[in-house]
Amino acid sequence: MPERTDHLGHLEHLDVRKTYKLFVGGAFPRSESGRSYAVRAADGSLLANAALASRKDARDAVVAARGALAGWAGTTAYNRGQVLYRVAEMLEGRRAQFAEEVAAAEGLRAGAARRTVDASVDRLVWYAGWSDKVAQVLGASNPVAGPYFNFSVPEPTGVVAVLAPQSSSLLGLVSVVAPVVVTGNTVVVVASEERPLPAVDLAEVLATADVPPGALNVLTGRTSELAPVLAGHMDVDGIDLTGADPSSRAELERLAAANVKRVVATDEDLARTPSLRRLRAFVEIKTVWHPVGI
C-alpha cells in the first residue's frame, strides 16, 4: 500500500508492523528456534512473518498448560464463565481489527468477515454460559440399589492439545478451543498453519482478559511438525485432531495410544450451531459413593 505524504513529501504515518509471536504461559515469546515463516493473504500478498514453533516450543507450552491446570480446573465454574465472557467482550471491542484480519486471512469480503467475527463472539458467549451448566447436564445423582449416596460429575480431562481447523481461522479456532477451556481443561492450540494471524490476535485478547497464564497457549507453525509431538507427548491427556491432515490421522491416533489419550477426530461443520459433543469430548465422568447412615 503506498504511503501517504504531506505537502513537504514527508510520510504522514509510517505503519508500525506487528511482530506475531507465540503465546505460552501468558507471555509472547518468539520461537526458541528463532525460526519464522511467511504468512500470506488469500491473494498471495505477504501479511507478516509468524513464529515457526518448534518441538521445544510445543514442550514448553505443555509445561505451561500443566502448570496452569490445577488453578484453572480448581476455579469456580462461575469464574471460568466470567473469564470466557470477558474474552467475548474484548473480542467485541476489537471487531474491526479482527474483521480485517479474518478478511485478509480467509479472503472474505468485509461483510462476511464481520459476520464471522460476530459469530465468533456469539460462540464464546454460548460456551461461556455452559461453564456452570455442563455439570448439571452431564452429571447425575444415581439411584443405586443400596444405602449409598452416589453422584457423577464431569471433570476436566487435563492438558488438551487442539489442532485448530485450517480454513476457519477465527470462528473455527474459537469453536474448538472454547468448549475445551470452559470445562476446566488447559489447552495448547496449534493455529491454522496458513492463517495463523487471527489466532495470535486472539492471544493478545486472552492476555488481557483474565485468562490465567498457561491456561490457553497458542502455537503457530507447521501442523504436521507439531501434531506428532503433541500426539505422542505423555503429559498431554487429550488431543483434538480437527486441523490435522486427514492422511496423518491414523498415525496421530497411533501415537496417542501411548498414554491412552482421548482423541477427537470429527468432520463436523463448525459454522453450525454447536452441540454438547465438544463439551463431552474432554471431560471425565467421576462417580463418588458414600454410605448413607447415622
Partner: protein
C-alpha cells in the same frame, strides 16, 4: 472386682463430662452401612456338622433364661428354674444354662430352685427397664437383689442422661452400682435400641467398661429393636479393643428377640470373627432368652437323630 483401670485412657478420662466426652468422641467412628454389611456377611457363614453340636450345646450353656413379666409368679419362676437346671429331661448330656434372670422380688425363689446346680441367679435392677428412679432407689433395688442371693446384677444405664451428654452421671451410676455389687457379676444394659446410633453404642460400651462393667448387654427386651447382629459386631469390637488397650476381658450379652438356634449360632460366628475364640465361653458371652432354649433343643435332637422334632416333645417351661 477392682474397677478401673490401667491403660492409656487412665486416670483422667472420667474426671468430668468434658473429659469423658473428649475420650468417647475420640473413639474411631462406626459406619452404619459398613457395620451392617459386615454383620450380614457373617450371617452367611455355616459351621461344620460336628461343630454344630458343640455350638448348640455352647449356646445352651450361654443362656440367661429369662422371665421379666409383670405377671411373673413364684410358680412361673420355679418352673423356669427346673428347665434351666435340666433343659431336656430326656437327655442328661444337655448342659445347664448359665443363669436364670428374674426381677429382684423373685430372686429368693430362684435361688432356692437352682440351689445345688451350676445355674446362677441374675436379677435385673436399678429401676429396670427404664432406669427412671433416684440413685437411692436404684441402689436399694440392687441391694435388695443381692440380699436375696443374686450372684449377677443386670443394671440399666440412664439413657436420658447418656443422650443428653451427661456422661459423668452415667459413669458415676455404674461406678456406684459396681461398688455395691462387690464380687458379684455386673452386667450393664445399654438399651441399644434407644441409643439410636452405633457410635453411641460404642461410646456407652466404653463408658460402662471404664466404670467397671463385667458385661455389656444390649437390651432390656422391652424396647424394639433389641439385640441385632450389627450391634453385636460393634459391642464385640469394643470389648476386643478395650482388652487390647490394656483393659480386662469384658463380656457381651445379647438379649431380646433371639428365638431360633440358627440366630444363636450366627451370633457365635460373630463372636468368633469379631472378638475371637476366647470370648466363646459363658464367662464372656451370654444370650438372654426364653423361647430360644427349646429351639436349640429341637435342633440338637435333629443333629442327633437326623429327623426334625416337634414342639410337643419339649417342655414349655
Amino acid at each position: 472386682m477392682t474397677a478401673p483401670l490401667a491403660g492409656p485412657w487412665s486416670p483422667d478420662v472420667a474426671t468430668s463430662d468434658a473429659a469423658l466426652r473428649r475420650f468417647l468422641h475420640g473413639l474411631p467412628g462406626v459406619d452404619q452401612v459398613g457395620a451392617e454389611a459386615r454383620a450380614a456377611m457373617l450371617a452367611t457363614r455355616s459351621i461344620k456338622r460336628e461343630a454344630k453340636m458343640w455350638a448348640l450345646d455352647t449356646a445352651v450353656s450361654m443362656i440367661d433364661l429369662t422371665t421379666l413379666e409383670g405377671a411373673d409368679t413364684p410358680g412361673k419362676v420355679a418352673a423356669m428354674c427346673a428347665k434351666a437346671r435340666r433343659p431336656d429331661p430326656t437327655d442328661p448330656t444337655v448342659p445347664a444354662v448359665a443363669a436364670v434372670c428374674v426381677y429382684p422380688d423373685l430372686v429368693r425363689v430362684a435361688v432356692e430352685e437352682v440351689s445345688g446346680s451350676p445355674v446362677a441367679v441374675a436379677s435385673v435392677a436399678t429401676a429396670f427397664p427404664s432406669g427412671r428412679a433416684s440413685m437411692a432407689v436404684k441402689l436399694a433395688d440392687v441391694r435388695d437383689a443381692l440380699d436375696a442371693g443374686a450372684q449377677e446384677i443386670d443394671m440399666v444405664i440412664d439413657r436420658g442422661a447418656f443422650l443428653a451428654g451427661r456422661y459423668g452421671q452415667v459413669y458415676e451410676e455404674v461406678r456406684a452400682v459396681r461398688e455395691a455389687v462387690g464380687s458379684a457379676l455386673l452386667k450393664v444394659i445399654l438399651e441399644t435400641g434407644e441409643l439410636a446410633t452405633y457410635d453411641n453404642v460404642q461410646r456407652a460400651a466404653w463408658l460402662s467398661m471404664l466404670a467397671g462393667a463385667d458385661f455389656v448387654k444390649t437390651s432390656t427386651g422391652k424396647v424394639s429393636p433389641a439385640a441385632t447382629r450389627p450391634v453385636a459386631v460393634v459391642l464385640l469390637g469394643a470389648v476386643r479393643d478395650f482388652m487390647q488397650a490394656g483393659g480386662r476381658r469384658v463380656g457381651v450379652k445379647v438379649a431380646g428377640g433371639i428365638r431360633t438356634a440358627k440366630e444363636a449360632v450366627s451370633y457365635l460366628v460373630v463372636v468368633r470373627e469379631t472378638a475371637g475364640e476366647e470370648w466363646l465361653t459363658p464367662d464372656a458371652f451370654r444370650i438372654g432368652a426364653s423361647t430360644l432354649l427349646n429351639d436349640l433343643l429341637m435342633q440338637r435332637t435333629k443333629q442327633r437323630t437326623g429327623f426334625y422334632s416337634g414342639r410337643d416333645y419339649f417342655t414349655i417351661d
